[in-house]
Subunit: 338 residues, 2 copies
């Protein structure tokens, strides 16, 4: 990709939970855009969103929306992406798509800039896939350890906030908590069961092998981003009553011995990582503290008591930022840098 | 232990979250007691608690409280237990203690009746230890699989409700949720950080090896109850904003191949277990549904994608009932049966 300057940027799905954060990140990170177009479904047409001091009006996203657009940040779900991303690419734009539509396409790089920015050197379809939120934060934490000691196995259990499922999900948790507090039965519309003060061991649909789509994503995407399908990976993905910020209990086994102290040393200097690992002072990453911030936080690093070269990590990040909008904008920044 | 009939039963810590459930379980399960004495700290003296139709007055628990008492159900914390349990035993009572005070004592059986009731044949100190809540539900689910295929490794991440930390903890979650809903900062007094809509990867204090006391309990107690210290075990224990009911993502590796279908078959017939494992209908165990009920619920059984003879299970139980009060009363019932 050549460097772009003063590019025209479109955000598709701009009114969604991730889309709004994309718009905010463009502004906060002073992304050099000559123009920002906000696009969404016909339902959101005419809504106004703030971008710094400007008030922008949302247009309907159609295949014809992308004339003159250089960069598209898309967060509109897989079926919309399958229609609009190729249309935008045909119109000459580079698309960073946040849906799962293209992640498995071998001609679409799946990128976490701290980990595999080099994959941006070839974008044959004009589309770059933004990985799943739970995968991004895990690979940011594991990549430096993988480089040093070669990760051979990953066992991860997640504690994922509701914001990954959008505005309605956050409202469902809010209303559900209020219901539970007054002794009313909470209602489930977005989630398969009420999420208010409960943990639901299902994120997305089930596959025939008993895993959910979310769990499959963590396996496939980690293989693709770390460019090592030989890593044995398994996952249990769980929705928890948290508004924003995903937490993960990650157990790794490495080929070469690593040790907690060396892992801390590596992560202390790692791009995009903040180490919070001081148990004596009760300091470790927490979702509520991570919410609204960009880094991936890692703590509770300790040797696995059940394997020879194993280590536990507790990994937390804001799923809407590093897990989605921020990572997408960081990809766009790398594209500009060329 | 010989059979007891019309025994005089004392509940120590009767006003606590677990103590109240002990009193309720004695009544619900028609435990044949000639008399039930309710004991607690001096602060609770004079409080009245309902036992069926009776209203009983709480007395202060002292070493002299146990004259004529046959059975003591104790849920008063480790330091109180270290004083009062031996006093009760000296007075001739058998004590089922819910604290961690005696669990590691080789002369104190640590019992989950479905798993190792035979350990009740020898109670040299007159004290039986009730295991930790998170351990009980896990071993009830794993024992039938261990018998069949020999569990060689356990990796568990927990999702533990606040009620394990008592009344004040439940009130802290309730108040914290109300605070968050109106945009106020929630307060942490019981927990190291606000638990309202967050996950805290710390239960109890940290040990020098970076694990918490709770995580150590899961390792040590599982070894003792399954009578197999050769099982490799590791745990991450996490407090979640749930009132009642612990959930656990448990990964096991077995010596002999087992398979999800055979595991389901074994658990369908297992004592104390209810299998809820129908992903196509979005059915799996949930803490809110388990709350107030006795069984250990197991679901999401599926092969581990990262090991040869591995299986995942999602294990849920009411931590105050099977995880504490019910297990204690079930121990007492086995003692009576002799």
């Amino acid at each position: 990709m050549g460097a772009m300057s003063n590019s025209c940027v479109a955000v598709v799905g701009a009114t969604g939970a991730v889309g709004r954060e994309m718009v905010a990140q463009l502004h906060e990170r002073s992304f050099p855009a000559s123009e920002v177009k906000l696009l969404a479904s016909s339902r959101s047409k005419g809504q106004k969103l703030r971008l710094g001091d400007e008030l922008l009006t949302v247009d309907e996203a159609t295949p014809a929306s992308f004339a003159g657009v250089d960069l598209v940040l898309m967060s509109a779900g897989a079926s919309v992406a399958r229609e609009l991303a190729p249309a935008a690419a045909r119109a000459g734009a580079v698309v960073v798509d946040n849906s799962s539509a293209f992640r498995q396409d071998p001609d679409v790089p799946l990128v976490v800039p701290e980990v595999n920015a080099h994959a941006l050197r070839s974008v044959p379809r004009g589309i770059i896939a933004n990985p799943n939120c739970s995968t991004i934060q895990m690979v940011v934490a594991l990549a430096p350890l993988h480089r040093e000691a070669r990760v051979r196995r990953i066992v991860v259990s997640t504690y994922q906030s509701v914001s990954g499922a959008g505005w309605k999900a956050m409202e469902e948790l809010r209303r559900g908590c209020a219901d539970v507090l007054v002794g009313r039965e909470p209602v489930a519309e977005v989630f398969p069961h009420p999420i208010a003060l409960d943990c639901i061991p299902q994120i997305a649909a089930f596959e025939p092998d008993g895993y959910t789509v979310e769990e499959h994503k963590m396996i496939f995407e980690t293989h693709k981003i770390l460019e090592d399908p030989s890593i044995a990976i398994t996952a249990t993905c769980v929705r928890v009553p948290v508004m924003r910020g995903h937490s993960e209990a990650v157990l790794i086994e490495t080929e070469r011995p690593l040790g907690a102290e060396r892992a801390r040393e590596l992560l202390r200097g790692a791009e995009g990582v903040v180490l919070i690992d001081d148990p004596a002072r009760k300091l470790y990453p927490l979702a509520r503290s991570a919410a609204g911030t960009g880094p991936v936080y890692v703590g509770r690093i300790r040797p696995d008591t059940s394997s020879e070269h194993g280590l536990w990590l507790w990994v937390v990040a804001d799923n809407l930022l590093k897990g989605a909008a921020l990572n997408a904008v960081q990809i766009a920044e790398r594209l500009r840098a060329g």
